[in-house]
Symmetry: C2
Subunit: 326 residues, 2 copies
């Protein structure tokens, strides 16, 4: 099996690649080759050089998508994207990458004779915008409140039409906010959800810019990789025409996140969170989804963590070698 990963330099894509290489198979079929593509050269995981090819290119440039699929990958994980904040600041860049590049990829696939790959598209809960019911159902309207969310929603609709027409076998998975994101703190409005856990566990202070009542929808990086792999295993008959799925997650408040941190790592670690309310972040986060009823995805076998405690434990295992900075 040949696999193509776009946006391969990203955090989730890197973890997905490593998992595919370690498993040496995708849903039981041996993996022969993985092509990693990003606008910057993706770093291949050490020790697997024979199976991995890395390519740096701009998927939105004419002809590049056609070149990419020349070897007819069986499965495409399409993760390339301009993130939410940048797509809001740079309107043209967001549309160019998140919409035009996706459409060029779909068109390249449509133009290739006798080719019908599985395309797993990483969408986002940003396709939804307030006001919301208490738990957002699977058939809730897409009412994005960012250009990023709009671009993801449009890509979902295009993918569904290309799938319905038989040009490809598609599935879009709407990822929860990924928590705990490894690495350095960033300036994304959502960054604090991770940093209030990650920094204290690493012996550092973190800033909480919203009040503890803020509720949000979370899943770990490990769960996100599991979603992508499981999505690739689904048959089109299982999906029908509604190929976009809201992934399961943990709905909890910031206060519940902190209580989980205290249970797992103790009072001293939890005391490393400093409250500094930021009205702008509070306003942005106020429009975000809080809770979903991810009934379809759950029925189709997607699994997230059951509690935020589990999300913290996953982080300690996967990123901290099991150790907490006391």
């Amino acid at each position: 099996m040949n696999i193509l990963v776009t946006g391969a330099a990203g955090m989730i894509a890197s973890k997905l690649t490593l998992r595919l290489l370690k498993d040496a198979a995708l849903n039981g079929t041996p993996v022969d080759r993985i092509k990693l593509v990003d606008v910057v050269p993706p770093e291949p995981p050490p020790g697997f050089s024979g199976k991995v090819e890395t390519v740096a290119l701009d998927l939105a440039a004419p002809g590049e998508a056609t070149k990419l699929i020349a070897e007819r990958p069986d499965v495409i994980f399409h993760l390339a994207a301009i993130v939410s904040g940048e797509a809001e600041l740079d309107f043209d860049k967001g549309y160019r990458i998140n919409l035009d590049a996706t459409r060029l990829l779909l068109e390249a696939i449509r133009a290739a004779p006798d080719y019908r790959p599985k395309l797993v598209f990483a969408s986002s809960i940003a396709v939804f915008g307030a006001p919301f019911p208490p738990a957002i159902p699977d058939d809730f309207a897409l009412t994005p409140l960012t250009s990023y969310g709009t671009q993801k929603a449009v890509a979902e609709l295009l993918l569904a039409d290309y799938a319905r027409r038989g040009f490809l076998d598609g599935v879009a998975i709407r990822l929860p906010t990924i928590n705990v994101r490894p690495g350095r703190p960033n300036r994304a409005a959502s960054g604090f959800f991770s940093s209030i856990i990650r920094e204290p566990l690493a012996g550092q202070n973190a800033v909480l810019p919203v009040d503890e009542g803020v509720r949000h929808w979370h899943a770990s990086p490990r769960a996100a990789v599991g979603f992508l792999l499981h999505a690739a295993s689904l048959k089109s008959e299982q999906l029908g025409n509604r190929i976009s799925l809201t992934m399961p997650g943990v709905s909890c408040t910031v206060g519940e996140q902190i209580a989980a941190l205290r249970r797992i790592a103790g009072d001293k670690v939890a005391a490393r969170i400093r409250r500094e309310p930021d009205p702008m972040i509070m306003r942005i986060v106020g429009g975000w989804p809080r809770c979903f009823d991810a009934a379809r995805a759950t029925a189709l076998g997607f699994r997230a963590e059951a509690t935020f405690d589990d999300i913290i434990r996953t982080h300690i295992e996967d990123e901290l070698g099991g150790k907490i900075a006391a």
Copy 2:
């Protein structure tokens, strides 16, 4: 006030133009000039030549949208579209006109400095696809089952993002199936909804290809023109970020349509309908919406006919000079 109408050669656009010229005003503001644009030269209504300019051009060709808005129309009625059946048969043409041309228009507006027109976009209930609840609510997911519906749904999302970013003042109205369509029978799958009323009233026979239990969502051409005019009057504060509105209509079965025809025109006219079940049309129509709860549009003042009897009476007044062929 300057007004631009795209797709101006179409039936609804022609009626809209005539109404604007007769009223000589749009929502109380005098109309100075109307530009009618279509890929074929639109026919200006006789007697109003001083106020009307007609242009034949391909809105999807580079630079044309920019030329069109050079005179900065205050209100744009964007009705240009490839219809459902053709968009399904010709994938490229449907995307080119229904998606690319719309995006080029939005981009031309964004690029024009100090310009923020009102854009009224004619969307369609084809943005929805089965399975449905008994009455589709305003916040129901867009799950189109045609390329046409996909293109309309994508255009709605783009329009909402451009409006949210402040590039224009936008509103999308999802038109019901227009009934009774004047003119000759056509081969659209939905054609029979009109022809079973229009042909008998004109003394001709009509074919009914589905059973009488089929329920659908209807509004008259006069109501559709009213929706477009009312949409142009709405302030962005009234709409908020959800600028796409399902229009009100009459939900009735084919049997109820025929009963209304019998009440208004008598047994002899209603007897001109011949039953010829067509499995293909039955299958297509089976995926269409049957009934909506158009609560938001109704609260915002949009009004359709109350009964299918009213729809028939509107047709007799507007198209038949009040006369029925006995």
